[in-house]
C-alpha cells in the first residue's frame, strides 16, 4: 500500500464516520424532545455534514481519479463505506442518540487534537477548524449524559441500557491496520493507542458523575473499517442515495 492509498483510505473512513452520523442526527429534525434540542441536534448534524464534505473533497483530490466529494458520498456500494459501526446504529430514544454521540465525541476530541499536529497541512487545517465544533458537541453530549443519568429513575434506566448496548462498539473506534501504520510513521495521524487510557478516564469521569457505568462484559464488534456493516446501513444508504441512483448523472 502506498502512502497515497493509505491517506485516501483514512480520509474516507473519517468522512464516512461524519456523514453517516450526520445523516442519523438529521433524522431527528422536527422530532426532538424539546425545541432547543431539535435545534442542537440539527446543528451538530450540520457540523458533521460540513466535516464530511471537507474530508471527501480532500480524499477526491488525493485519489486523483476525477471523482467529486458527492461521488464519494453518494455513489459507492455498501461494502465501500468505511465508517465505524457505532455511527450507523439506529437513533433509538433521545438517550440512545446522546450516548452514541458521547462515545463518538470523546474519541473524536482526542483524535482531532492529534490531527491538529499532522504533518499534512490540509489535515491539520481541517482539524483546527473541526476541533472547535467537536468541543461543543462533547460538552453537549456529556451534559446530557449527566442530566439523564442522574435525572429520574426512568431516565437513569433508559440511558444505562443504552450505555450497555452501545459499549460493544467502542473498541472499533480504536481499530488500526496497515493504513494507520503508514500514516503514523509519516506523522500524518496520531497513534490512537496512545490516548486509549485518556479516553477511558475522560469518559469514566463523566459516567461516574452521571451515576452510570460501562458493563463488565468486554464483548466487542467490528467490521465497519473493512466495509462489513450492520444491517442498518443498507437502509440508510437507500435513502441517502435515492436521488443520485434514481436520476443518474443529473445536477441538483
Amino acid at each position: 500500500m502506498t502512502k497515497q492509498e493509505a491517506l485516501f483510505e483514512f480520509l474516507l473512513r473519517k468522512a464516512d464516520d461524519s456523514l453517516i452520523l450526520g445523516h442519523r442526527l438529521s433524522e431527528w429534525c422536527g422530532h426532538g424532545p424539546i425545541l432547543e434540542e431539535d435545534i442542537a441536534l440539527t446543528n451538530i448534524s450540520l457540523d458533521l455534514i460540513g466535516q464530511a464534505t471537507e474530508l471527501y473533497k480532500y480524499a477526491a483530490e488525493v485519489e486523483g481519479k476525477g471523482r467529486t466529494e458527492d461521488d464519494l458520498a453518494f455513489l459507492r456500494i455498501e461494502r465501500e463505506y468505511k465508517n465505524v459501526l457505532l455511527v450507523e446504529q439506529l437513533n433509538g430514544d433521545f438517550g440512545k442518540t446522546i450516548v452514541r454521540q458521547f462515545f463518538f465525541d470523546h474519541f473524536e476530541h482526542l483524535l482531532y487534537e492529534g490531527l491538529m499536529n499532522s504533518t499534512d497541512e490540509r489535515i491539520s487545517a481541517i482539524a483546527t477548524k473541526t476541533i472547535k465544533e467537536i468541543k461543543y458537541h462533547l460538552r453537549h453530549s456529556s451534559e446530557w449524559v449527566i442530566r439523564l443519568g442522574d435525572g429520574t429513575e426512568e431516565s437513569h434506566n433508559r440511558v444505562q441500557a443504552s450505555v450497555t448496548d452501545l459499549s460493544r462498539f467502542i473498541n472499533e473506534l480504536f481499530f488500526q491496520d496497515e493504513v494507520d501504520e503508514i500514516l503514523i510513521n509519516e506523522g500524518i495521524i496520531p497513534d490512537v493507542k496512545t490516548f486509549r487510557v485518556a479516553f477511558e478516564n475522560n469518559m469514566n469521569k463523566i459516567l461516574e458523575e452521571a451515576t452510570l457505568s460501562l458493563p463488565e462484559e468486554k464483548w466487542q464488534l467490528s467490521g465497519g473499517r473493512k466495509g462489513v456493516h450492520s444491517e442498518h446501513l443498507g437502509y440508510l444508504l437507500a435513502e441517502l442515495q435515492y436521488m443520485q441512483r434514481t436520476y443518474p448523472g443529473m445536477e441538483w
Binding site: 445523516h23 438529521s26 433524522e27 429534525c29 422536527g30 422530532h31 426532538g32 424532545p33 424539546i34 425545541l35 432547543e36 434540542e37 431539535d38 435545534i39 440539527t42 446543528n43 448534524s45 450540520l46 455534514i49 460540513g50 464530511a52 464534505t53 471527501y56 466529494e69 458527492d70 458520498a73 453518494f74 430514544d93 433521545f94 438517550g95 449527566i146 442530566r147 439523564l148 442522574d150 435525572g151 429520574t152 426512568e154 431516565s155 433508559r158 435513502e239 441517502l240 435515492y242 436521488m243 443520485q244 436520476y247 443529473m250 445536477e251 441538483w252
Partner: protein, 317 residues
C-alpha cells in the same frame, strides 16, 4: 378598575398606536389586543414548527452534500423562528407549553400550507420560493407591528426568510434549466403548490373576520387581498424568467391597473384544509404530539436534575 379609567387607558393606548409608538410587554393594552396577539403569534410559532416537517421529509434524501447542508440549516432557522416567537408569546403572559397543547388538541391553528405533502425534491424548491416567498409578503409589514417584541422578532425572521426564498428559487432554477425530467419535476410541483400558496394570505377581504380590527391596532398593515396581489405581481415574472408556467388560465397582466389579474381560488379546498381535512393535517399534528410525548421523560429528567443540582449547590454554599 373603574370603567372611566379603562376608557382613558384605551384612549392613551390607541393614541400611542396611532403615533407609531411601540407597545411593550409592561405597557397597558386592552385584553382583546393581548388575546389577538397571543393567538396570532402562537399560531405563527406553531407554523414555524409544523413547517419543519414537510422539509424534514427530504433531509435524508437531499441529492448532494451542499443541498443537504443548506436544507438542514434552513430548517434549523425555522425552528429558531419558532423559539423567538414562543418567547414573544411569553412576554404577553401566555405559557409556551400551554399554547403547544392548544395546537395538539386542535384549539390552535397553523398555516394550512404545511398540510400539503412534499412529494418530490422539486417541492423543496417550491416551499422556499413560493411558501417562504408568500410568508415574506405577510411578514415584512409585521416588522412595523405595534407590538414591540413581535416587530423585533420579525426583523430577524424576515432576513432569514429572504435567504430561504432565494435558496428555493435557486433549486427551482436549477431544475428548470436541467434535463427534461427535471424540468417536468419542477412544473409538476409548481402545479401543485401555486394555488395553496395563494391561499396562504387567507380569505378575501370581504370574508376576513380579523382584518379591520387588526389594522386599527396596527398589528396588520395590508389586507389579505393586497398582500396576495403583491405576491402574484412579484412571482409571475420569476416563473417566466425560468420558463415555468403558472397553472392559471386566467392569469394576465392588466395594463390599466399595472397588476396581474388572476383566477378564482378554490375556497372550498381552502376551508376543507383549515377545518382539518387536508392531505396531511392528521400526520402533522400526530408527529408534533409524538415528539412531545416521546420527549416527556427527557424533560422530566432535565427538571429533576436541575432541582438536584440547585439543592447541592445550596448545601455547598
Amino acid at each position: 378598575m373603574e370603567k372611566n379609567n379603562l376608557d382613558s387607558l384605551d384612549t392613551i393606548f390607541q393614541d400611542k398606536v396611532d403615533r407609531e409608538i411601540k407597545i411593550e410587554p409592561k405597557d397597558y393594552m386592552p385584553d382583546a389586543y393581548r388575546k389577538t396577539l397571543i393567538r396570532q403569534i402562537s399560531q405563527h410559532a406553531h407554523s414555524e414548527i409544523v413547517g419543519q416537517l414537510p422539509e424534514a421529509n427530504w433531509v435524508t434524501r437531499a441529492p448532494n452534500l451542499r443541498r443537504k447542508a443548506v436544507l438542514l440549516a434552513k430548517i434549523q432557522d425555522e425552528a429558531g423562528h419558532g423559539l423567538y416567537l414562543y418567547s414573544a408569546v411569553e412576554t404577553l403572559g401566555a405559557d409556551r407549553e400551554d399554547t403547544i397543547d392548544d395546537l395538539h388538541e386542535g384549539r390552535a391553528k397553523y398555516s394550512s400550507i404545511f398540510n400539503y405533502p412534499t412529494l418530490t425534491w422539486a417541492d423543496m424548491g417550491m416551499v422556499g420560493w413560493l411558501v417562504d416567498g408568500a410568508a415574506i409578503m405577510n411578514q415584512v409589514p409585521l416588522c412595523r407591528c405595534s407590538y414591540g417584541p413581535y416587530a423585533r422578532a420579525m426583523v430577524r425572521v424576515c432576513k432569514e426568510e429572504s435567504f430561504h426564498q432565494r435558496q428555493g428559487f435557486e433549486i427551482v432554477t436549477q431544475l428548470a434549466q436541467g434535463t427534461p425530467v427535471q424540468k417536468e419535476m419542477a412544473q409538476e410541483a409548481l402545479n401543485r403548490w401555486w394555488w395553496p400558496a395563494l391561499m396562504m394570505f387567507g380569505p378575501n377581504d370581504a370574508d376576513s373576520t380579523h382584518t379591520a380590527q387588526s389594522m386599527k391596532w396596527k398589528i396588520k398593515r395590508h389586507t389579505n387581498d393586497e398582500l396576495r396581489q403583491m405576491f402574484v405581481d412579484a412571482t409571475v415574472p420569476q416563473a417566466e424568467l425560468i420558463g415555468l408556467k403558472i397553472p392559471d388560465n386566467d392569469l394576465k397582466f392588466n395594463e390599466e391597473t399595472g397588476h396581474y389579474d388572476f383566477g378564482e381560488i378554490d375556497w372550498d379546498e381552502f376551508w376543507q384544509v383549515v377545518k382539518g381535512y387536508g392531505p396531511c393535517n392528521t400526520e402533522r399534528v400526530s408527529a408534533r404530539k409524538k415528539a412531545k410525548e416521546d420527549g416527556l421523560w427527557v424533560r422530566e429528567a432535565a427538571n429533576v436534575y436541575a432541582e438536584k443540582r440547585a439543592r447541592r449547590n445550596k448545601k455547598v454554599s
